[in-house]
């Protein structure tokens, strides 16, 4: 129906009068000089015909576009007679026309085949069959051993129990009292007149060393001891203030 509409498109041009398909045939048979055909008028005729219709016929548009493009290509070839400068040097116009005719004929055949398929599908529309999935290898099922409901209950009960309060013991710092070191340093100074602080605390932890240092400052503050250090970060020497 639509194809007929395009083929039957009536043209009234200076060089040609008749249906579009006849124009195409004459061109393909080299009986009409394509240079004399005003392609724009063909397009105008189609557009006018197209505008008369209620619904847009896309298929007719498509077919028309293909045909008019083919015509334009042929015309462009005809306008470049100088083969050396021709952008279409791979084909001469005769070959191009031949190829076009062949291509149109081939396309028409497949279009007819598509119509045949469409009719066939319509004729077979009352055939129903089951579409099963491709047979798969049976899925390996791993059966569970016999289960005891009581075991499940016990497992759930264990999960539901309140968890024990986490211990924070490891987070608390253990500070020995400063007094321990006050007594210790006083005892050392009773035994010998002076001692080196660094040597005394060498075996202690960092926290204990810090507390020991506080005790030392405490003794110095009370005026019990005097402190000496050759330079910053050098060993600290402690001796009796008396």
């Amino acid at each position: 129906m639509t194809a007929v509409a395009v083929r039957d498109l009536d043209l009234d041009l200076d060089a040609f009068e008749g249906p579009f398909d006849l124009l195409l045939t004459l061109v393909l048979k080299d009986e009409l000089e394509l240079g004399d055909v005003e392609v724009a008028s063909v397009v105008a005729a189609f557009v006018e015909r197209f505008a008369e219709r209620d619904a847009a016929d896309l298929e007719a548009c498509g077919e028309f576009l293909v045909l008019i493009a083919a015509l334009l290509e042929l015309k462009a070839r005809a306008l470049f007679p100088d083969e050396e400068n021709s952008p279409f040097e791979e084909l001469d116009p005769e070959e191009a026309a031949g190829e076009l005719a062949e291509r149109l004929a081939l396309y028409r055949r497949f279009k007819a085949a598509a119509e045949w398929l469409e009719d066939r599908l319509a004729a077979e529309s009352d055939r129903y069959f089951r579409l099963g999935p491709a047979p798969l290898q049976p899925v390996v099922e791993r059966p569970l051993p016999p289960q005891d409901p009581a075991a499940l209950a016990a497992a759930l009960r264990a999960l539901a129990a309140e968890p024990p309060e986490p211990s924070l013991r490891h987070l608390a710092l253990q500070f020995p009292p400063v007094s321990v070191f006050l007594e210790r340093f006083r005892a050392v100074l009773r035994r010998r007149p002076r001692f080196v602080f660094d040597h005394e605390v060498r075996s202690l932890s960092r926290v204990e060393q810090a507390v020991a240092f506080l005790a030392l400052l405490e003794l110095r503050k009370g005026g019990e001891v005097k402190l000496g250090q050759a330079a910053p970060f050098e060993p600290i020497t402690v001796w009796n203030a008396a």
Binding site: D21, L22, T25, L26, K29, E31, E59, G62, V66, R103, A105, L106, Y107, R108, R109, F110, K111, A112, A113, A114, E115, W116, L117, E118, R120, L121, A123, E124, S125, D126, R127, Y128, F129, R130, L131, G132, P133, A134, P135
Partner: protein
């Protein structure tokens, strides 16, 4: 009693094979060829064909709701045509539904030229075939069938499902492409005749 026993003893062995084939066709997801049936039934192909003949007379339009058909180079059960309306109320047919003109043309090219690549289809139709091909693959009507030489474009051919959907016993049932073009060749000849008269 004795009579019944003797009847059972002389049961036609083809009947038994027919029952086996019936069972195989019921569980098969698609048409089964005679060879496939013979292999599964552990019987010879000739006897399988005889049994299929028996089943075909039993499962036919007008006699049974299930019909045995020779389709896609094999045998399969389908619903009787008289039950089509009821079937339509029960199931959808996504494969067949809404095939566009572009899809049908692409399908026609794959049917006749397959294995064929997308660029070849595009060359014949004059427009890109990508979405039409993808749609047909999704419906299961065509499938990939290797590549062109030297790792070129993927080629496509029709599937057994295509034959089943279109009710073809095999692709040889399709009309010849030249026959299909007969009317256009005739039209062309007529036009050329007219053109000749005009030229004269």
């Amino acid at each position: 009693m004795e009579r019944g026993m003797s009847l059972r003893l002389v049961e036609n062995p083809v009947d038994r094979l027919a029952r086996t084939i019936e069972a195989l066709l019921v569980i098969a997801p698609g048409p089964l060829s005679v060879d496939e049936l013979a292999a599964a039934a552990e019987d010879d192909a000739e006897r399988v064909e005889t049994a299929l003949g028996l089943l075909a007379s039993r499962y036919r339009e007008g006699r049974s709701g299930i019909v045995l058909e020779h389709v896609a180079s094999g045998y399969a059960f389908r619903a009787a045509r008289e039950a089509a309306e009821a079937c339509a109320r029960l199931v959808e047919r996504p494969v067949q539904r809404g095939l566009s003109q572009a899809a049908l043309e692409t399908l026609a090219i794959v049917v006749y030229l397959g294995p064929v690549s997308r660029p070849e289809i595009a060359r014949i139709r004059g427009v890109a075939a990508d979405s039409a091909v993808a749609g047909l693959v999704e419906r299961g009507l065509i499938a990939e069938a290797g590549r062109e030489q030297d790792g070129g474009a993927v080629r496509y051919r029709t599937t057994p499902l295509f034959e089943r959907v279109f009710g073809l016993s095999s692709l040889s049932e399709l009309p010849r492409l030249d026959d299909l073009a007969a009317d256009s060749a005739e039209l062309r000849a007529r036009l050329e005749e007219v053109a000749g008269r005009r030229g004269a």
